[in-house]
């Protein structure tokens, strides 16, 4: 099948404003959008810039807006769009560095701000090995361990579009992963951070984040659980 691919182009060193280039390419229905981009860069226009790494939905490098929705280019099959027209744009709300590449630093700054690592200064167990956890305790935060930091959720959030200082869904998901971990002792610290003006209360439950997550994490639910933990002080 023949696919018409419209690609957002912007090189801040040369262009005054962005433009869209159109490429007509031959594709199979099972081809991924990443395959189309690779073909365009390899055979038509070597100046096209985009991020990719594993190409299998694990590294989270190639999140972009495809036909108006955030997704990973490596997980988006041509047949699933139901049209021969595919528009590819960079993630919204982050500065475009070139073409489909955005500046991820503000996103990672928010991620770091919620202390996304185990905090526990208590002495190690007597055997000096691991801090044990029951299957039920591990299950409590299982969903939020799946995040790959692709930024598809945060950049689909209307609150983040309006104010880039909002910590965003991805950071809250990663805070949730440790807040509800029975081995962690930093929940109070994280809840205090997320109780600020630019914390969880900026969430307007638009649900774009959950719809966009390529790992199908129940993001809005995780945010609601953090809100409730702040209100009640309970971590059950």
């Amino acid at each position: 099948m023949e696919v018409r691919v419209r690609v957002f182009r912007f090189n801040p060193e040369v262009d005054r404003r962005p433009r869209y280039d159109v490429f007509t390419v031959e594709a199979e229905p099972m081809d991924r959008v990443l395959d189309l981009l690779e073909y365009i860069r390899g055979d038509i226009d070597g100046t096209l810039s985009f991020r990719r790494s594993c190409g299998h939905g694990i590294c989270g490098s190639d999140a972009m807006r495809i036909n108006g929705r955030n997704m990973l280019a490596c997980k988006a099959l041509v047949k699933n769009f139901g049209t021969n027209e595919i528009t590819i744009e960079p993630l919204l709300g982050l500065r475009v560095l070139k073409d489909l590449i955005v500046d991820m630093e503000p996103f990672f700054e928010h991620y770091r701000s919620v202390l996304p690592y185990l905090i526990n200064d208590e002495p190690l167990p007597e055997d000096g090995r691991e801090r044990l956890q029951s299957p039920a305790e591990r299950e409590r935060f299982d969903d939020t361990t799946k995040c790959i930091l692709c930024a598809a959720c945060t950049t689909s959030c209307p609150s983040f579009w309006a104010d880039g200082r909002y910590v965003g869904p991805a950071a809250i998901v990663n805070a949730h992963r440790f807040i509800f971990d029975s081995r962690d002792r930093g929940a109070a610290q994280r809840l205090e951070i997320l109780n600020q003006q630019m914390g969880v209360w900026r969430c307007r439950t638009a649900f774009n984040c959950t719809e966009a997550c390529p790992r199908e994490i129940k993001i809005t639910q995780a945010i609601a659980e953090v809100k409730r933990a702040i209100q009640t002080g309970r971590l059950d």
């Binding site: 036909n67 108006g68 439950t205 959950t210 639910q221 409730r228």
Partner: protein, 139 residues
């Protein structure tokens, strides 16, 4: 890109699903109610400061344009109220309800309930408007 430009571009061009549309509708209806309340507070203040102006304001409210506006205002109040209850219930009491399928369903139900509540009042308000402004239905 400014935040306002990004926000408006996102509102309009992002192809979200029910959640995105209910968020937008919630915002628009909220702004509609705030606009009405602002106008209402100002015109009621005229009773004390300038009674003649108050009577003129009442005349304007009897115009067809304002009559239609009031019909939509009632929708704004119903939708904003019902959707607000949905969000508060899910956020405060049932976080597990923020699940893709149940969220899509609850967003559609919210719109349906708001329309069911709105249609009878819209009918009576439109009937009154046509009766008083155009002499229909024996007016």
């Amino acid at each position: 890109m400014s935040n306002l430009k990004t926000t408006l571009a996102g509102y309009i061009t992002y192809r979200g699903r029910e959640g995105h549309w209910s968020f937008l509708l919630h915002r628009i209806t909220g702004l509609g109610v705030v606009l009405f309340l602002t106008i209402h507070i100002i015109d009621i203040a005229f009773v004390y400061f300038n009674p003649d102006l108050f009577m003129k304001a009442i005349e304007i409210y009897r115009s067809t344009l304002f009559g239609i506006g009031e019909i939509f205002l009632v929708f704004c109040v119903f939708y904003h109220g019902v959707n607000g209850l949905r969000i508060a219930y899910l956020d405060l009491f049932k976080p597990q309800g923020w699940h893709v399928e149940s969220q899509r369903r609850s967003a559609r139900w919210t719109l349906t309930i708001a329309l069911i509540l709105w249609l009878p009042s819209a009918f009576w308000m439109l009937r009154n408007l046509l009766m008083h402004n155009y002499g229909l239905f024996g007016g």
